[in-house]
């Protein structure tokens, strides 16, 4: 069944949290080398979608399937999805009391087949050398949390990586660094045909897209995929006419999309 370059297929996904429907009939198809930008207002289900893909046990899938590299992963625990090639940078990861950043990094490096030297090299690049012996996220600033997520992902070296608002709460000085690292993780500086890495970037403001280009933009609205297109066009349309305006235009242009009204 596996077609060439097929990385992620989300098929008719429905998701409930505490009995409330969060996602409905979500379909997404991402091929090798492709990066998607995911837009949507607060509460539209963006983070829930990533949580379902990565397998957060508190999110119960009510219908549909998630297929990764041709294999159904819906019943698999998170760590097995990671071993198959997924990765995620959380928007607000928890503090892990007592577990040092360096210990987590060593674990990531083992999975990503990276050397001890690379741990320190990347930590230096992300300006996190002084935090290595601190428990993960304990007393980290907002920017440090974001950079620590990226450092872990660099070492994990996965094929399909999701970023949940990597630009929120990051100052101007650091956003270009964060952009550079995401570009590296997603091989955006490699010729399109040779890219192996795929990903999804959630962005509220679109700031990060000034530093990382995406192939497609998607709007998630009220738990459904409402619009797919050129990410810059979508972002422009949202900033001019709001999410509803953008979606209405999408519906005119693509009448076959889900009927949202």
């Amino acid at each position: 069944m596996k077609s060439k370059g097929d990385v992620l297929r989300v098929v008719n996904l429905g998701l409930k949290v505490d009995g409330k429907t969060v996602l409905q009939n979500v379909n997404l198809y991402i091929k090798e080398g492709e990066t998607y930008a995911l837009f949507g207002p607060n509460g539209s289900g963006k983070s829930s979608l990533l949580s379902a893909i990565i397998g957060n046990p508190t999110y119960r899938i009510s219908s549909g399937r998630i297929i990764f590299k041709g294999q159904e992963v819906t019943p698999l625990p998170t760590d097995e999805r990671i071993k198959l090639g997924m990765g995620i940078a959380f928007q607000t990861p928890p503090r892990v009391s007592g577990v040092k950043l360096i210990d987590v990094l060593r674990f990531c490096a083992k999975i990503g087949n990276r050397s001890e030297e690379e741990i320190y090299e990347f930590a230096k690049k992300l300006k996190l050398e002084d935090l290595l012996n601190r428990p993960v996220n304990q007393g980290f600033s907002g920017g440090e949390v974001k950079r620590s997520e990226l450092l872990q992902l660099l070492l994990l070296n996965r094929d399909f990586v999701m970023f949940d608002e990597p630009d929120s709460g990051v100052d101007l000085e650091n956003i270009s660094l964060i952009g550079e690292i995401i570009r590296e993780i997603l091989q955006r500086d490699t010729e399109a045909e040779k890219r192996k890495k795929s990903g999804i970037i959630i962005t509220h403001t679109g700031n990060i897209l000034k530093y990382v280009d995406a192939d497609y933009g998607v709007i998630l609205y009220k738990g459904r995929i409402a619009c797919v297109g050129n990410p810059e066009d979508i972002l422009n349309e949202i900033s001019k006419n709001g999410y509803e305006g953008c979606i209405n235009r999408c519906l005119r242009e693509f009448p076959n999309l889900n009927n949202l009204k």
């Binding site: 990565i54 957060n56 046990p57 508190t58 625990p77 998170t78 760590d79 990671i82 071993k83 990765g87 995620i88 959380f90 990861p93 928890p94 503090r95 892990v96 009391s97 007592g98 577990v99 040092k100 210990d103 987590v104 674990f107 990531c108 999975i111 428990p135 993960v136 872990q152 994990l156």
Partner: protein, 374 residues
Amino acid sequence: MSEGISKFEQLEIEKPEVKSRLESVGIELDPSKRAASFVQVDQETATASSFLESVEVMSIKDALEKYEWLEDYYWKIVDRNQDDYTREADSKDVNGYFIRSLPGKKVDIPVEACLYLKKAKSRQKVHNIIIAEEGSELNIISGCTSHPGVTSGMHLGISEFYVKKDAKLTFTMIHSWASDVEVRPRSAAVVEENGIFISNYVLMNPVKLVQMYPTAYVEKRGTAIFSSIIVALENSVVDSGTRAILKGEGSSAEIVSRTISKGGTVIARGHIAGEAPEVKGHLECRGLMLSEEGKILAIPELEAKYPNVDLSHEAAIGKIAEEEIFYLQSRGMSKDEAIAAIIRGFLEVDIKGIPEILKKEIDRAISMVEKDLF
């Protein structure tokens, strides 16, 4: 000495299971790694030898014979009438160790002292006196354990610590008993002006009961730091407290405990009393429940008898947060690996001022038994 050798032979140290019991409580019996060794098997001294001139080690019996002045230290800060157990320990056949660092001498290499319970169903009575003389530094590993296969017995241990002016004493006690052994240490310490007393306690194996409440009397600008790492497995009851009486101006105390219940009962007590100006004390009890059975009771107490004191405490008990497990799983750890990492982190107490070698012994004691927790 010939009697000592025969007792030593009784230890059967060449047996791997005995060696491993000793190692699990930090006892090496290797002169290149220790400043002195003391081993007591049941009531008899098996070995008492110092490899350095700056530290004296002998049995308490020999010490009381050798030094008349030791009467001033014997039963002076622990009351011999405190309870039935102190009265039982106050007997003719009591043994124990006397360890003393000479004035101004700094002994980096640790002294090891082992109290070994060999005979099943016996009652081991111990009275220890430890003196860090003025300006000296002394590190002690005290390992208490029972012979493989000896599942029942009683250990009564009186310990009196004297940290003289400007001295520093680090005392690390590692216990590894068996499921039906009852342990009742009775300890107290006097920390004189500018003295530092660092006391660490590690208990990770099954035991029937541990009950103790060591007390430090801290004088002018003295410091007492207590850290305990306690795991109560099924059928174990550990009632362990620490008390610091801040008697002198500018004295301070820090009491930290990390307790885990996996089916057993832990009572983590702590008490800091501020009785002089400018004293500072902090108490931290953290507990982790790993099973539906068992119990952790944290009882932190602060007592001020003077207006100008700074006393605080924090206590928290909980289970491992699901979101922390999930987060580590998102880095590729299996659920079990994630739980193991979090427990290891929980048990890793950052003990201030502890020499690296003692830190390693504590880490080793933890790593030798932590697999039983998962």
